[in-house]
């Protein structure tokens, strides 16, 4: 495997601070007030629509906050051809939003022109790695920028697996020269499901590639955990986040709630917890450049 320290560091986008996934139930509070949120992640597909309220609100929020784009349909690991219509639409949206970065998942979503609307697992094999690396390069060439890829929660492994997930991801990032979005909850879920130590994962991933953390909740079924992203974050995941931010430094952190969306205040409490943990680990975020962002209070700009 490649030694992560053996290559020059990629140019990483500046950290944004502490953000939330943008969800429609929170639109009025976000636009009507000034909640202490440094940035938002949008679900790209929600705004790959012709127009109307979603696009109008997106433009309004984009004027106030830094945005990143997060997709679920790139199907980067599929053996089906890349969906160029999708990539064209994604690029068009990116030209409108000018996100700080674009992300999707290390997974596949379907073959034979079908979409399973799920983040399906890849085998940890050299063949899958080579395939993935080639496709990431193609996508990055098309979009004209590096993309960030996220570790998905998985429920199965494959008998043919040849390497650990963290080695697979490090190799992928190095060979494709892409960025990483680490979902701390997903690491916890996959570690529980497959019986590996999540600390090893955190301690092995190359920090130079990591631009974003996701934090989320899940549903524990006793023999396995299902990544539902519809519960509050549990203590073990907070602990793992503390370890991660200590090792990776000031990485843009956000709460990702996909279902059972609570009032904004509840997510702000979780975001405050993330700030507190980063603070306890002595992590300071540099001042963000966007001078016209009214929400960037000194309190959230610098953690001391």
């Amino acid at each position: 495997m490649t030694n992560p320290a053996s290559k020059p560091s990629p140019q990483k986008p500046s950290p944004l601070g502490f953000g939330l996934g943008l969800r429609p139930p929170h639109y009025p509070e976000i636009l009507g007030g000034d909640p202490p949120i440094d940035w938002f992640e949008i679900l790209s597909e929600n705004y790959m629509v012709p127009g109307g309220q979603p696009m109008r609100i997106l433009d309004e929020i984009n004027e106030k906050y830094p945005l990143v784009m997060h997709g679920v349909s790139m199907s980067i690991g599929s053996t089906a051809p890349l969906d160029m219509d999708y990539l064209r639409d994604l690029k068009k949206l990116a030209q409108r939003v000018k996100p700080k970065w674009i992300s999707d998942h290390i997974c596949w979503t379907g073959v034979h022109g079908l979409n399973m609307h799920d983040l399906l697992p890849l085998p940890m094999t050299q063949e899958a790695l080579d395939h993935l690396v080639e496709r990431i390069k193609q996508v990055q060439d098309f979009l004209g920028q590096r993309i960030a890829l996220e570790n998905a929660s998985t429920y199965v492994t494959f008998k043919d697996d040849e390497m650990t997930e963290w080695d697979f991801i490090n190799e992928m990032a190095e060979q494709a020269d892409c960025l990483l979005l680490l979902d701390i909850n997903n690491i916890y879920v996959s570690a529980f499901n497959h019986g590996f130590d999540p600390h090893t994962y955190i301690d092995t991933i190359n920090p130079e590639r990591v631009v974003q953390f996701h934090l989320a909740g899940h549903q524990n079924n006793g023999t396995h955990i299902v990544d539902t992203h519809d519960h509050p974050i549990i203590k073990d995941v907070w602990d793992l986040y503390g370890r991660a931010i200590k090792r990776f430094g000031p990485v843009s952190t956000m709460i990702e709630r996909d279902d059972n969306i609570p009032p904004l205040g509840e997510l702000l409490e979780e975001l405050e917890m993330a700030r507190k943990i980063a603070d306890q680990q002595g992590i300071q975020f540099p001042l963000f450049e966007k001078q016209d962002a009214p929400h960037m209070s000194p309190k959230t700009e610098t953690l001391s």
Binding site: M48, T125, A128
Partner: protein, 264 residues
Amino acid sequence: MTNLKDLQDSFQKALLEGDSSILSQIPDSQREKKEELLGVYQYAYGARLLEYLQNDYPNLHGYLGDEQFERLCNIYIESHPSHTINARWFGEQFPDFVQETPPFSEMAQLGEIAALEYALNSVFDEVDERALSMEQLTELPPEQWAGLVLQPVAAIHHLAFTTNADEIWQALEDETVPPALVQHEETAHILVFRHDSHGKFRPMNYEEAMMWDKMVMGVPFGVLCELITTYGGEEGAAMRAAGYLQGWIASGFIAQNFKTNENS
């Protein structure tokens, strides 16, 4: 070793058809059998698609109840595997499917409620266009009015109903008891449009609906006036035609870019 393509084919078959051949590639975990673990994906596939339909067709769901709605959706999910990258369009064919699939097709109001919900969702995020203003139109020389060819904005749909599905939908939306089914003797016309960022609808009488459809087909305004004379009588025909047009323009239903046909 199974190659990636074959592995993905087998995995997808497990989700779509319940095929179990992929299990030969999957080990048990320390705590759970592989069948259960694969089952997480198999369950999620159907549950997620059902959720998309529940989100898009909430009042049809309310009208049918959980059991019948899920039965209907499960047939749709089995017969319509998703080809769309965006969940937003998974239920695009659902109204036609409801209208064509027995025994649901025997209750016309079901397909019509679905059509109304689909249209309301469609206009919500349809493309934004500048609408024609009355001021723009009054600048047109009078001799060009007869050749005026208008087009509607994209965020608008004309639906033709055989039942009072619109009243049933409204009652469900208002969380009141839906009215009894009424089969109309003549087709009822509904115009679905976007107002203040949200989908709305209103009825159209037969004459307005006829004029609307012909306008959408590109028939010039002068010919529309002649058609109104034929359908609704000569008396006041021009006033009626002008009234419909004025109403559409005031509501922002007509696209800004119009043509004038010199030969009309």
